[in-house]
C-alpha cells in the first residue's frame, strides 16, 4: 500500500511523464512478498526467521530499486548506481531460497 501510494502521488506531480518502474512499484511487495507468503501458508510451511529476513531484505531492495529507477526516469536522467539494486535483490532472494532448501532437507534427514 505504501509503495502504491508513493507511486500514485509521484505520478500525480510528474506532469504527464510516466515510468514503468513507478507504475509497477506497487506490484513488487505484492508479487514478491504477499503472494509467496500466501502460498507458504496454503502449503502449511513456515520458513525460519533467517529465511524470512533474507527474503524481506530482497523485497525491500527490489522495491527501492524500482522506486529509484522510476524517480530518475521521470526526471529524465539515469544513474549507474541503480545496478546495485538489480544485483543485490536476486542475490538475497537466492540466498533465502538456498537456506530454506537446506533447512527443509535437514528436517527431512532428521525425520
Amino acid at each position: 500500500m505504501v509503495c502504491g501510494g508513493l507511486s500514485a502521488i509521484y505520478e500525480y506531480f510528474s506532469h504527464g511523464v510516466y515510468s514503468k518502474f513507478m507504475v509497477f512499484l506497487f506490484a513488487v511487495p505484492l508479487v514478491a512478498g504477499a503472494v509467496p507468503a500466501l502460498v507458504l501458508v496454503l502449503l502449511g510451511r513456515e520458513p525460519s526467521a533467517s529465511v524470512r529476513r533474507l527474503w524481506a531484505c530482497a523485497v525491500l531492495t527490489l522495491s527501492l530499486g524500482f522506486c529509484m529507477a522510476g524517480v530518475l526516469e521521470i526526471y529524465g536522467t539515469s544513474s549507474d548506481l541503480v545496478r546495485v539494486y538489480w544485483i543485490l535483490a536476486p542475490v538475497l532472494a537466492t540466498a533465502a531460497v538456498v537456506s530454506e532448501v537446506r533447512t527443509a532437507r535437514g528436517r527431512r534427514a532428521g525425520c
Binding site: 506532469h15 511523464v17 513456515e46 531484505c57 529509484m68 529524465g76
Partner: protein, 314 residues
C-alpha cells in the same frame, strides 16, 4: 512462560542485527544515490576543440575591433545581426518567438552555468545571460541532468558518449546548416570534425526538411502532455527562431510536442526545428529581463536553475 518463549522465538522475536545493519546500509546507499544524482557537483574538462571554435575565435576578435570603432555611430542591426520579439496565443497558450537574422550563425552562442562543464552545476538562465551580456537567451538542453548524450558548445566537444542509438540531436554547423541526426549514425568526433558549432541532445526533432517528424499519437509520454516548451528552429538561411511557450498555469495550458511542431511549421515556416528542455526549465530572457512565465508546478512563477543556455548578443 515456555509457550511465550516459543511464540517469541517463532516470530523471530530476538532482534536481528545483521538485518538491521543491512536495512540501514541500503537506505544510506539510496540517500547517496539521490545526492549523487541531484546534488553533488562534479566538473569535467573539454575533450576537443573543433575548427569551428578556432575560426569563430579569430573572427570575433576582428569583429570586436571593428565594432569598437563603430560603436558611437551604429546600432546592432548594422553588424549583420538583428533580433525581434513577438508574442502570440496558440492553443490557449502564450508563445514567445524571437526572430534572429544573422549572416553568421556562430553569433548564436552557448554558455555554461558558472562557466563550468559538469554535473549538478546550475544557474538561472537570466544570470547566465547577464554574465554573457546577452541580448536574448533561452535555456538549453540541460545536459547536466544526464550522464550521456553528445555535448558540443561553441565548437568545443565536452561529451562524446551516446545516449542511445536513436537519440535525436540537433547539429548547428558553422556554415548555418541545421541538421537533425541520431547518435547511432555518427560520432561526436565526426560532427566536430565536420564543423559542428552546437550539438544539443534532448529532442525529439520537431521538423526536418520542412516536414513535422513528431506525431500526435506517439507513445512517448512527453509528446502527449501539455507543458511549457523551448525550441529552436531555422526558417531559412540567415533566419533562425527561438520559441518559448508558457504552460502549467491557468492562463497558459502549455503545448504538446505535436502542437509545438505544428506551430513552428504552420505559423513560423520552419524547415528544421528541435525541442529543447521544457517544463520548469523553459525561460526566455530578452533585452535585460525574463519575458515568459517560467514555472515548475504552476503555483509559483520562478526560474529554474539549468546547466546551459543558448544566447545571442546583438
Amino acid at each position: 512462560m515456555a509457550g511465550r518463549h516459543e511464540r517469541q522465538g517463532g516470530r523471530g522475536g530476538r532482534r536481528s542485527w545483521p538485518t538491521t545493519l543491512y536495512v540501514a546500509a541500503v537506505l544510506c546507499f539510496t540517500v547517496y544515490l539521490l545526492l549523487d544524482t541531484f546534488v553533488i557537483q562534479r566538473t569535467y574538462s573539454a575533450i576537443a576543440v573543433g575548427s569551428a571554435a578556432k575560426t569563430a575565435e579569430t573572427s570575433s576578435s576582428s569583429t570586436a575591433t571593428t565594432n569598437a570603432e563603430k560603436a558611437s555611430t551604429t546600432d546592432a542591426s548594422d553588424s549583420g545581426t538583428s533580433v525581434s520579439l513577438s508574442t502570440s496565443r496558440y492553443e490557449d497558450t502564450t508563445v514567445y518567438v524571437v526572430d534572429i537574422y544573422t549572416d553568421d550563425v556562430t553569433s548564436l552562442m552557448a554558455a555554461l552555468a558558472n562557466d563550468t562543464y559538469g554535473k549538478n552545476v546550475t544557474e538561472t538562465t537570466s544570470q547566465m545571460a547577464e554574465d554573457n551580456n546577452a541580448t536574448v537567451a533561452i535555456n538549453g538542453d540541460y545536459y547536466g541532468a544526464r550522464n550521456s548524450g553528445y555535448v558540443i558548445r561553441d565548437g568545443i566537444l565536452y561529451r562524446d558518449t551516446a545516449a542511445s542509438s536513436d537519440q535525436e540531436d540537433l547539429v548547428i554547423y558553422s556554415d548555418g546548416t541545421f541538421d537533425i541526426v541520431t547518435e547511432g549514425s555518427v560520432t561526436a568526433e565526426d560532427l566536430l570534425a565536420n564543423g559542428a558549432w552546437q550539438v544539443f541532445s534532448f529532442g525529439p526533432g520537431l521538423i526536418d526538411d520542412g516536414s513535422i517528424t513528431v506525431t500526435a499519437n506517439s507513445e512517448v509520454d512527453q509528446a502527449m502532455a501539455s507543458n511549457p516548451r523551448t525550441a529552436i528552429g531555422k526558417v531559412a538561411d540567415g533566419h533562425y527562431v527561438l520559441v518559448v511557450s508558457d504552460g502549467r498555469t491557468s492562463e497558459s495550458a502549455g503545448l504538446t510536442l505535436y502542437q509545438l511542431a505544428t506551430y513552428m511549421s504552420d505559423e513560423l515556416g520552419c524547415e528544421t526545428a528541435y525541442n529543447l528542455d521544457g517544463g520548469g526549465s523553459s525561460t526566455l530572457y530578452y533585452d535585460g529581463s525574463v519575458v515568459n512565465n517560467p514555472t515548475t508546478n504552476g503555483d509559483k512563477i520562478t526560474e529554474r536553475s539549468v546547466s546551459d543556455i543558448v544566447y545571442l548578443t546583438a
